[in-house]
């Protein structure tokens, strides 16, 4: 863990409520995909934990959804502003178990941490399949970016895809057809778990808890889950985000946020 001052290079909306922020600074503590940073914001007591989406030298890309005061304040920030950031938090995803054809399952703002993971898995020459879940077509982001990494990408939309195509790159794609508009992205109505491929060597997932529970039940192989919890410190000191696991109590912030499928105990 390290405290650093980062400069905002970019802060733009990807959808109505999801933003991408690019930060420049000392990223030396960010070693694994699935790690997160904790950002100090003026006038707010607790820092805001945000997952790493992409790492490129001194540049860190974060994708966040505006859900409260902190993320609303972040959305108002402009390039040139400086942020106090704790970096190198959490364990992150482990790549060694991935096998030759890993499956990545993301839901909503659980998708960004899978991007750096996909990048690294692709760099190792693995055949990566991604299923990205959203509630509506308007919420879709980053499907093309995963595709550009060379992943096979399916986007699932809970509310379905409107038949009369309206404006926007996603709704132009014909429902259920592969290679629509040459993007090679398959769009399906339903949940992430409605679009699991038949064969995969291992899986990685991040998303809302109901989705994670469904993934836990529907997957046939071992895999890694990234969890979210309200945190105090983000570095293991306050015990605010603890959970029970097969191997004892774990702190989501320090011993997680990534847990192996075998160690997860779901609360009733």
């Amino acid at each position: 863990m390290k405290e650093g001052i980062f400069e905002i290079l970019e802060n733009l909306p990807l959808t109505d409520s999801v933003y991408r922020m690019v930060l420049s600074g000392d990223t030396s503590e960010m070693t694994a995909p699935g790690q997160f940073v904790n950002i100090k914001l003026d006038g707010l007591f607790l820092r805001r934990p945000i997952s790493l989406c992409e790492l490129d030298g001194d540049l860190m890309t974060l994708i966040y959804k505006v859900v409260g005061k902190g993320t609303a304040a972040m959305a108002d920030m402009v390039p040139g502003q400086m942020l106090n950031v704790l970096t190198g938090l959490g364990n992150g995803y482990g790549l060694s178990e991935a096998g030759d054809a890993p499956l990545l399952l993301g839901g909503g703002v659980g998708i960004p941490p899978l991007y750096e993971l996909a990048k690294r898995l692709r760099a190792e020459g693995r055949k990566v399949t991604c299923v990205l879940g959203f509630n509506t077509t308007e919420e879709v982001f980053y499907a093309e970016e995963f595709k550009a990494l060379g992943c096979a990408v399916t986007v699932t939309i809970r509310d379905g895809i409107p038949e009369s195509s309206s404006e926007g790159r996603i709704t132009e794609a014909a429902p259920g057809t592969e290679n629509a508009l040459g993007t090679g992205i398959l769009y399906k109505k339903g949940f992430v778990t409605d679009a699991l491929p038949v064969e995969y060597s291992y899986f990685y997932t991040c998303g809302p808890e109901p989705m994670l529970r469904a993934v836990f039940k529907s997957t046939k192989t071992s895999g890694q889950f990234s969890f979210e919890e309200r945190m105090g410190c983000g570095f293991g000191a306050c015990m605010g985000c603890s959970c029970r696991t097969v191997t004892g109590y774990k702190r989501i912030c320090k011993d997680g946020p990534v847990l192996r499928k075998e160690e997860i105990l779901w609360d009733a």
């Binding site: 007591f45 919890e229 309200r230 000191a237 306050c238 609360d267």
Partner: protein, 303 residues
Amino acid sequence: MGRLSIDFFGETLDNPVIPASGCFGYGYEFAELYDINVLGTFSFKGTTREPRFGNSTPRIAETSSGMLNAVGLQNPGAEKVISEELPKLSKVFRKKVMANVSGFSVREYAETCEMLGREPQVGWLEVNVSCPNVHGGGMSFGTDCSQASEVVRAVKAVTKKPVIIKLSPNVTSITDIAKACEDAGADGVSLINTILGMRIDLRTRKPVLANTYGGLSGPAVFPVALRMVHQVSHAVRIPVIGMGGVSSAEDVLEMMMAGACAVEVGAANLVDPYICKEIIETLPNAMDRYGIESLRELQKEVK
């Protein structure tokens, strides 16, 4: 003897800055960030006889200038603290540590204090009779003079180390409880623990915390803490350790002027993990600004 050193229960501390229990783990986590030997000492995570998971999550909520927690005394239990946590700590901390103890019966307080009191690295026992987040224990011992006295007597009977009783602000008269502890033989008191509060999520219309209520800490509570430290230090002769929302060298001086012999720093560590080191480094400058030659002098002047 430096300008920052203070008298502390018959010993000398290099400075009055003490990370508070629950905000500093068992110390070694912070030792990865800086040399924690710069601290006066620190109070380790509240420990009970048996291991505890604590309350369900969410157990953290933000407030204006502070936070609520309802962790509920998660800890590995006294035996594991002795066999696993303290050996790890001794590798990175060569000073004595303050053992923070909680319990659900007078007997449990005494047993845990006896066990931890035997540990050579434990210099002081801070007995928490004020945790607002556990049911049927914790704070209930600190809101009643006779129960608090009973805990003090039971603990004093099993250890020779200084016993400091950590007091709850969630009482009608904190001075009455402090006096009862003093009369029962406590060597000192520390205050304040968190103030019971709550937040409601407007979207779900339900409490943010799974435990409904939680303890408020952070800068929001500083004036309340300062007032109570002032009242208690005028009501008892034993030393008072001040805490509650302290986050700067100036806050430390204010607490000491209110009568605190030393100052614990809690929630600020969670937001700025280097804060205690920074407070210690900035104290001399702040003392210069307000004409304070040494903290020992300030201690004597105020008492």
